[in-house]
Each structure stands twice: as C-alpha cells, then as structure tokens.
Amino acid sequence: MYSRRGFIKSVVAAGTAAAVFELTREAKAALPAVTQLPTKGAVVDWSSYWISPRTLAILRSRTSAPRVVSETADAVVIETASGLRQFYPTASLDIEKRSRAVANAGISRQVLTFPSSLGIDAALSPSEAREFWTAYNDDLSAVVKSNPSRWTGLAGVTTADPAWSATEVERAVGKLGLLGVSLSSAALETLAGAEKLRPVFAAADKWRAHVNVQAGHASGALPGYTAVAPREDDAPELRSLFDAGESLALAAITLAHTGFLDSFPAVTIQLSQLGGGTPLLASLLALYDSRDNLGDGLGQLRKLYYDTAEVGGSGHIPEFAVATLGSERLLFGSGYPETPIREVWDGVGKSSIPEPDKRGILFANGVTLIASKTATLAG
C-alpha cells in the first residue's frame, strides 16, 4: 500500500530500473498500433486512453511534469508525474486515424478515458486541474458526438476538489453526453478517502452514471496508506507495479465491502486491470467466508465490474479471475495505446477459459453493459 507521494517517490527512485519499463513501452509504441482481431460480433473496449488536443496543448506548455518532452511524427513522449516517460503513438491521438485503427482491430466501440498513469490528479493544483479537466471533457464530448456509435467517453475530474468535481460530473453526463467519470484508485483505498468523494458519487448516482477506477495517484489531500519507498537495488519497478495492483484491490474492498455504495445504487463501478489483486482476494474470501462468518464477501466483489487491461498476455490472470470472480462481471478492456489491443485479446482468447465465459468477456458482457447504461441515460 502506498500514499500518493510515496508512490511517486518510489518510482522516481527507480532510476535506471525505470528505464527498463520505458524501453518496454517504447518497444510497444513502435509496434503496429493494433492488429487484426477475429470478428465474431460487436466488441466494446472498456479501457482505452486518449489525450485530447487541448490537454495535449496544456502538457506541451508545462515546464514541470507531467509534460510533453518530445514529439515525432510517430509518437508523443510525455514525462509522467512519477518521472517515467510514456509513449503515445500519434495514431492514437488523432481521432480519425484512431477510429480506423480501432475498426481494423475489430473493436466496435471504445470507451475513452484520460490515462491516469500520467499522474495529473496528484500533480496539478485544484485550479490547474479544473482548467485541465474542463478542457478534456469538452474535447471528449465533441469526439463522442461526432461518432456516437464508435466512441463513449468518461469524464476526468479532480479528487482535490470534490465539490467542483460533482458539478463537473453533472455537466459531463447531463450536458456533454459522457457516460460517467474516471477516478484514481488511490483516492478510494480507504473508506475515509471515499467519503471525501461522496459528492462525486452522489452526482454520478443522480445521473445513473458509470465510474471507472484506474490505478493511479490521487490528490495528496485524501487519506491513504503509508508507503515504504523501495531502494534502487530493491526491485523498485516490480514493487511499484505490485503496489498499483494493491491500490486497485484496496479500492475494490472499499467499494464492495464497506457499504459505501449502498447510497448510490444506480452507479455502476468498473475497476481496471481486473481490480489488481482482487481475484486473489476473491479466492481468499472463498476460503475464509464460511469459517469466519463474515457474510458473503465474494458476492459483494461480484457486484463490481472488472476490465482486462494490462493483465499480461499469458492468459493466467484472466483464467484465475474467471475461476474466482466468475465471468459475468468481466469486461474486455485493452489499455490501448499503452498496451497493444492484440496482446490483451490473445490473453483472453487463447486462455483455457470455457468458451461461453470467453464469449461473455470478449463480446456479450460489454455490449450488455453499454446498452443498459445508454438506455438508462437516454431515458
């Protein structure tokens, strides 16, 4: 577990180790943006990242991270708040090119969010954040309205200013045509942190909106867990990756088990990356629930949705998630362009997950959810 500041320090301390991570990302950015997918039906990609023109301009103008540090015809390089460098293919930023690439990949619809890995929520002041997210949500709205059958959008807000963020959720869903909002997992690691965001959830509930929880930093004003920053010789890159997974699982515990969501029955929740370590937690709950008489902890976890972004291409993790959480709440999400769509698709497609479950994850679950939310919003 980590605090936002601790997480940032830990990654900065990674030094050369972080370069390994960067090289991996660089290599991926150099790959073809997407590859052809088998087409068996409509596919919704519930986890993808898009940086809008006006937010890219803000990142270009900044002198401290997060900021654009270099650009070529093929990619934009952004220094994250943690000191890492993220590579974004220009084909993913230009919405027309992206649309073609996504279509070629067999994806019917992408749900667009701003990438939390850049650390905007933790790094910007409240006033900077308000300007940033207003611009992003306006840009995103224009894209969604330009091709509503291709794109769905989730708004960005700041955890540093819950009151403003609640208002922005109302604007984003009520006026801009977005489906909901994306939040950083660190903001929800504890019940105390979630309570600070109660106004945001109330607004989301009012509009029956969708909430996506991404692994990432949140405002330092929110309570969280203490961190131990790993030393350079102490596997910092692995520890940072694992900490991100823990942050998502702690958010899952907050949202599934504390009763916090009882006040917001119309909100649907999606945790990215299969909720980090949540499937392992589910296996532990299957073990302990009966002995400790603590209720249906596993059933509570199954009320949330989980997407498949960034869970590796081996298939082990999706298989494990289906075995512990079941397949009904699992959604296909690629993490594009930070992860090639094909990698995640193959991870699920080539796994030993039973075919009906596999079809649910890759096709039906996502389509059903988007249909239910769209119908709700239209109503």
């Binding site: 504390t258 073990l287 009966s290 902890g297 494990f320």
Partner: protein, 371 residues
Amino acid sequence: MTTRREIIAGGLLAAAAAFIPAAIANAAPDPLYGPEADASYPIDGVAPKGTTDWHNHWSPPRASALTRTGGARSGDAGDGLIRPRAYSDIDARIEHLDRVGVERQIISLGSGADPRLSVDDARSWCSVANDDLAEVVRKYPTRFSGYTAIPTQDIKFAVAEIERGYRDLGFIGAVLPVGAVQTLEGAKQVAPVLEVLQQHTGILYFHSGAAHASIKGQRTIAAPRSDVATMRARYEKAASYARGITTLTQTDFLKPYPDVTVILAMLGGLAPYHFATASGRLKGVSGGEPISSLRRVYLDASTSRTPHTLELVASLFGADRMLFGTDYGVWPSIAPIVSAVRRSQLTEAQQNLLFVKNGQDLLAAKSRRTS
C-alpha cells in the same frame, strides 16, 4: 516493556494476528471449526503414502502456559479462532494424521516469538517453546520434525537458539515472520539468521506475521474497524508474501546463502498472481523474466482450498517447487487441502511431487548434509 498480561491479549500467534487486527471473537459456531472438528471433519481424500506436511502448528504446553491465564480457553491462541483439540494434543494429532494419510509433519511454532514481547520475554518464550517441541520430536522421530522458534527482537539470541536447535534439539531449520523481509533493508537486519543456516545447510521457513518493530520496511495497517479491517488484513497478509518473495527472489539478498532452502507459506500469497501480471512487462534481477528467479524458493500449499491457486503456482514456479502444507492446528482438518490437490488439474506426477517427492528429497538432502 510488554508484560505477560499483554501477551495474553496477543497470544502465541499474535504475529499472525497482527494481520488479523479485528479478532474474530464471535467465530462461527460451525462444528467443523470447533475443538472436536478433527474428529468430525469429513475425510473425502487421503494423501498418498510418504506425504509430508510442511505447514502446521502446535501449542507448546509450557510456553503456552507463560501466555495464558486461567480465563483463557484451551486452544484459543488469541486470534479468536477456536483450535481443534489436536492443536495441543499430540495423540489426537497423530490420530488425524493417520486418518488423512500424512506420514510426517514439520511443526512450526507460529512465526516465532510474538513481536510485541519484550526482549527478555521473547527469549524466554522461545527457549521454553523450543524445549517443548524438541520433546515431541524426540518422542515421535518418524512423525515430527521441527523448526527453531526465534525472536526478531534479538537476532544475536536467535542465532544462538538456531545453533542450539541443531546441536541439542534435533531441528532442521528456523521460522521467521514474512514481515522481516518486506524490503531488502529489513532483510539485511536478519541476515545473521541466514548466515547460521547457511553453515548448517538449513531450512528457513517464512510464515505470516509481523516482525519486531525494529525490523525496517514493514507496512502498517491503519484501517479502523469500520473500514472492514479484517478484510483488508487478509489482503495485506497475502500482499506481505508478495513483497517478501520480491525481496528474496528479485534482489541479491539470497546470493551469499546458496545452501539455505527457503520455504514460504500460503502458496506465496499474492506473489504468483502479481508475477503473472508482470510477465513480459518487466525484467527480473537476472536480466530475464522475473519469473525465472522465483524458483529459488519453495511454496507450501496451505491455502489451497481452491484448486486454481495450485494450478497458477504450478504454472509459474513449477510443481517441483511446491510442498504440501495445511496450516493444521489453526485449521481443523488436513482433508480439504488433500481434496483440493486431488481436484486440481495438476497431473498425477505433479501431485506426487507436491505430496511426497519434493518433501522427501528436501529432508533427505538436509539429512545427508547434517550427517
């Protein structure tokens, strides 16, 4: 200084209880988890001949008396869970082992001394507890082996106690709480334990729990009860193994101790899951896949009620790095673990490695080197 009265609140397994802060005081009245559970638990699978159980617990009578008042329930180790009779009754234990087909158990006394004890009390507890366990090992040499219980409060004493364990008590290694190796910095504080085990080509067993507060790098759980503290503690316990395995397999810490066999409980908690996620994304300490370094350690199968966890571990670590373990004593029966292994998709050969061969090979190797 912590008093004995305070120990009562924590009990023998307080290290583990540190990860279960909301004591489950109102444990389920389910008879399968009561003191007679070992007699009533359904046996739906018998382990193959030659099976060794590498993870189980027993209450050392004289040491437990140090931590108990007249008001404490027999079999209650302070975490609120009701222990089966076999937790303290060796005859009942042997009867259960015979029922489920387990030939030998390697007994660990929790994670060692309660980390909240004073240095003096921790030393006393370890000395008495190890003497208690040695009596059992001497009386039933074909059924039980033991790990030396040591205090993380006093590493110098711990080293001496491990030496005594080899010299006088017939033990095959030592047990540490996994909290001791959450970071490389903390692990270096307990390096003398590794050094003495290296001399004896011994076994170092990591069990759930916090080390003494002086051991650096341990994370604290600050969640209040209202914030599902028990749930978070369970997750944190699993996460602590992932951090420990990262220290042990993804840094240079174990390089000076090539002859120390390292075993971790609970199938490595979150480690297999996290490392599967990292596969293909990050490089390990050797410059290759992080997973390739994982085979430096063994994992015991003590939380294997669900077969898919076993299958994940087998695919990442290899079945030749898995040992049969049950957490018996805390859990009321060995049968569910046997059943889970049987129900898994592990091949017969893999199951034989887990139940029998890996354990027998380890014991034989340690025996040869000792003699």
